[in-house]
């Protein structure tokens, strides 16, 4: 099958990384920078005196990935010799990767330092997510990147698609074509063909055949991920909340760099702890705390610029729709048979149909979903994050604003990138927005 393209390694073409010593120096400098930013975010989170105990696990995952060497446990040679497969976006069925005996890591980049490295490798107007993603790959740091030889890039937005091509200078890249009009029978069949092709590629890569039984086991294992994630979602629906939005986002982001089983175990524990807190009535804030939906371009860890700002200003991020957060985890795989075809069809559906990435058009599904989220979480206001260069989210803002206005939910658009320079300016706007929401909410309460 030809559905997934297989790029050769073009490392020799890569500019300015020729000189080993400068490269090494750069890498060290980069590592220090990343460590510093990551530590700032994590220390910030740890500053919460009532931090749920269960959160420490996830904080440590991030420390292991970005700061400590040699990195997380599953990377250690010997301890686990499984291959590591990098993925971008949210359309790659990780069940297949596990069934082939490899471990998936989700590599979308959120580091300012990495985006600076990427600046030199892609056009200026590219979004920072792609810049950072390329930046990380080009320096092969942290160790997760070093250990993964192959990355899978779905053709979602323009930047991600072209990123695939650029990444092939450094790694083997498998491209997967995502149909942008999902509904037609033709595109769904084509998509399923690609999922089969991916299965074949993975089998070749790991040398392990994906049999019916393996796939069944991995679908069940990841089923626990969707289950715990849904429990987490339901627990966070309560108003007032039991956990800060940025803490929740960290938990979900940490999944990118952890194995499904250990992450699920840790989340199950955290869920139990949160359920306990609910029972005791230990909520954060009160009925007047504005509940925010952080929508738009993803805030990828460690780019905690907007999330931490919102919560510093006294609002609560009830949820975010990011593809590294709630959106990724919300939809489960539904298969009722243990036949190969049914399981593959189930995976094909799960990773395409309910996905509301704005790279799809038409994408009404996202509007319905946002309305449902606003209802589920009793949202008071939406902060709509637009990363510079991320045109598709910005496009949909018009529609989102319209439907939310009809329901009396205010929307604030914030356009920015990973550069911390404009934080103060954004702070003033966010603060004003939240103040208005607070007043509104109080009035309604009286």
């Amino acid at each position: 099958m030809d559905a997934t393209k297989y790029h050769k390694n073009y490392q020799q073409l890569s500019p300015d990384i020729k000189q080993e010593s400068t490269r090494q120096k750069r890498k060290e400098h980069f590592a220090r920078g990343v460590a510093r930013s990551v530590e700032t975010v994590l220390a910030g989170l740890e500053g919460n005196p009532d931090l749920p105990k269960g959160l420490n696990y996830f904080i440590n995952v991030m420390r292991d990935v970005f700061i400590n060497s040699p990195g997380p446990n599953f990377l250690e040679a010997g301890a686990d010799s499984r291959k590591i497969v990098g993925t971008y976006c949210m359309m790659i069925p990780e069940e297949l990767i596990y069934a082939a005996g490899a471990i998936p890591v989700r590599l979308s980049g959120g580091s300012y330092e990495a985006s600076c490295i990427g600046d030199e490798l892609v056009p200026r107007d590219t979004c920072p997510v792609v810049k950072a993603s390329i930046g990380f790959i080009s320096l092969n740091f942290p160790s997760v990147y070093e250990r993964c030889d192959v990355v899978i890039v779905p053709t979602t937005c323009d930047s991600k698609r072209k990123m695939g091509e650029e990444l092939s200078k450094f790694k083997d890249v498998w491209m997967i074509e995502v149909p942008h009009i999902k509904e037609t029978e033709g595109s769904r069949t084509r998509w399923l063909e690609q999922i089969y092709a991916l299965k074949e590629n993975l089998e070749k890569y790991t040398g392990r055949k994906i049999r019916r039984k393996n796939l069944d086991v991995s679908i069940k294992m990841i089923g626990q991920v969707w289950y715990q994630a849904r429990r987490f979602y339901e627990l966070r629906r309560l108003s007032p909340s039991v956990i800060f939005g940025q803490e929740a986002a960290l938990v979900l982001n940490a999944y990118s760099y952890d194995t499904a089983s250990s992450w699920t175990e840790a989340l199950a524990e955290l869920n139990n702890e949160l359920a306990e807190l609910c029972k005791k009535g230990c909520f954060i804030g009160n009925n007047d705390t504005p509940r925010i939906l952080l929508a738009g371009s993803p805030s990828v860890f460690p780019n905690w610029k907007i999330p931490s700002l919102i919560e510093e200003m006294g609002a609560m991020i009830a949820t975010e729709e990011s593809c590294l957060g709630d959106r990724y985890f919300y939809d489960p795989v539904g298969t009722t048979e243990q036949t190969m075809k049914d399981m593959m069809a189930g995976l094909g559906s799960r990773y395409l149909m309910p996905c509301i990435c704005p790279s799809f058009a038409p994408n009404e599904d996202r509007l319905y979903r946002l309305l449902q989220i606003a209802e589920d979480f009793e949202i008071d206001g939406i902060i709509y994050h637009v990363l510079k260069g991320c045109i598709i989210y910005d496009f949909e803002l018009i529609r989102v604003e319209k439907i939310m206005k009809e329901r009396g939910i205010a929307v604030l658009r914030i356009e920015t990138d990973y550069n911390p320079e404009d934080v103060e300016q954004i702070r003033t706007r966010v603060e004003a927005f939240i103040e208005v929401l607070k007043v509104k909410k109080k009035k309604r309460g009286e």
């Binding site: 089923g223 626990q224 539904g334 009722t336 048979e337 036949t339 049914d342 559906s349």
Partner: protein, 311 residues
């Protein structure tokens, strides 16, 4: 007890009652909107499919018979209005046989077949053809204005073609009724076709979920009462994430349930009310089955996970 188990229980019980009920004195009547085959034999059968008296009456060319079939038709309609597609998913003995074959397929881990959209559209006409056979040929038998010899051997035309006519007597242990009728060229053709359809149904149902139901004239009959039926399927447009799960699990491969973005009512023509979609939908209240507007079964995320994690 979950819905799957409940449905299996009801389906098995009705299969037993309709095919063997006569042995213990149960007889429900001959106005049933379901394939309870009369050829199972008077001593065994526990109820009879409406198509049987309908064809017999039309053939009789007697005013008296025509009037009495209207009364039967009234009860038949009433049963459809009240239970609708529940007859197909929960009661039909041929449905039971097909689901049983499907269970065997699952146990053997054999993949099911899906027909492409175009083919499915094309095959839609078959059930219309069956219905016309059941309605028009008996009239020709009654008033043989041409080819009277052929007409005479065309009695009970749909029954000669119906897979239930061969499969149900066979499973009830009566092999004598399963065979080619050598009376005349016409009867040979009809019974041979019937046996071919039966074989197709058995193999079809082994490889494709509810294979025969897509061509069943009874399902077509039932769909005429769509607008006034008491049992319906409803969807909450906003809650549905269009995850496509309901399509994947649907034995009738109905796409419109997940695609619908306008109407709340998602009871489509081919639906057999098996409620698999409601059971497998992971969104709270996105799908509901209602009886006279009252919810009788709703989708829940907890129900979804209970179902899939323990599958």
């Amino acid at each position: 007890m979950n819905v799957t188990k409940l449905r299996w229980t009801v389906l098995t019980a009705s299969f037993l009652i309709l095919t063997f009920g006569g042995l213990i004195g149960i007889y429900l009547g001959d106005f049933l909107p379901t394939f309870a085959c009369a050829f199972v034999g008077g001593e065994k059968v526990g109820g009879i499919c409406f198509l049987y008296p309908m064809q017999a009456a039309l053939e009789s060319a007697k005013w008296q018979e025509y009037k009495s079939i209207l009364v039967t038709f009234f009860f038949f309609s009433l049963l459809i209005i009240v239970f609708g597609r529940v007859w197909c998913g929960w009661i039909c003995p041929l449905g039971f046989i097909q689901d049983f074959l499907d269970l065997i397929r699952r146990k053997l881990h054999i993949d099911y077949i899906r027909f492409p959209q175009k083919l499915r559209e094309g095959l839609k006409s078959i059930k219309w053809i069956f219905l016309f056979i059941a309605l028009l040929i008996p009239l020709w038998v009654a008033f043989p204005f041409f080819a009277p010899d052929v007409a005479r051997d065309m009695r009970m035309p749909f029954c000669s073609l119906c897979p239930a006519r061969y499969i149900l007597p066979m499973v009830s242990g009566d092999y004598l009724r399963v065979g080619i009728d050598f009376k005349s060229a016409t009867s040979i053709t009809m019974s041979a076709l019937g046996i071919i359809f039966s074989a197709l149904t058995i193999f079809g149902a082994l490889l494709k979920r509810r294979f025969f139901c897509s061509y069943c004239p009874m399902v077509l009959f039932i769909s005429f009462y769509k607008k006034i039926g008491f049992v319906r399927l409803k969807k909450n447009i906003q809650k549905c994430t269009r995850c496509e799960i309901c399509y994947n699990v649907c034995p009738m491969e109905i796409e419109d349930v997940f695609k619908e973005r306008e109407k709340e009512d998602v009871t489509f023509a081919d639906c057999i009310m098996c409620l698999k979609c409601v059971e497998s939908c992971p969104e709270d209240d996105a799908l509901q089955a209602t009886f006279l507007g009252k919810t009788i079964f709703r989708s829940t995320w907890t129900g979804f996970f209970k179902g899939t994690l323990n599958r």
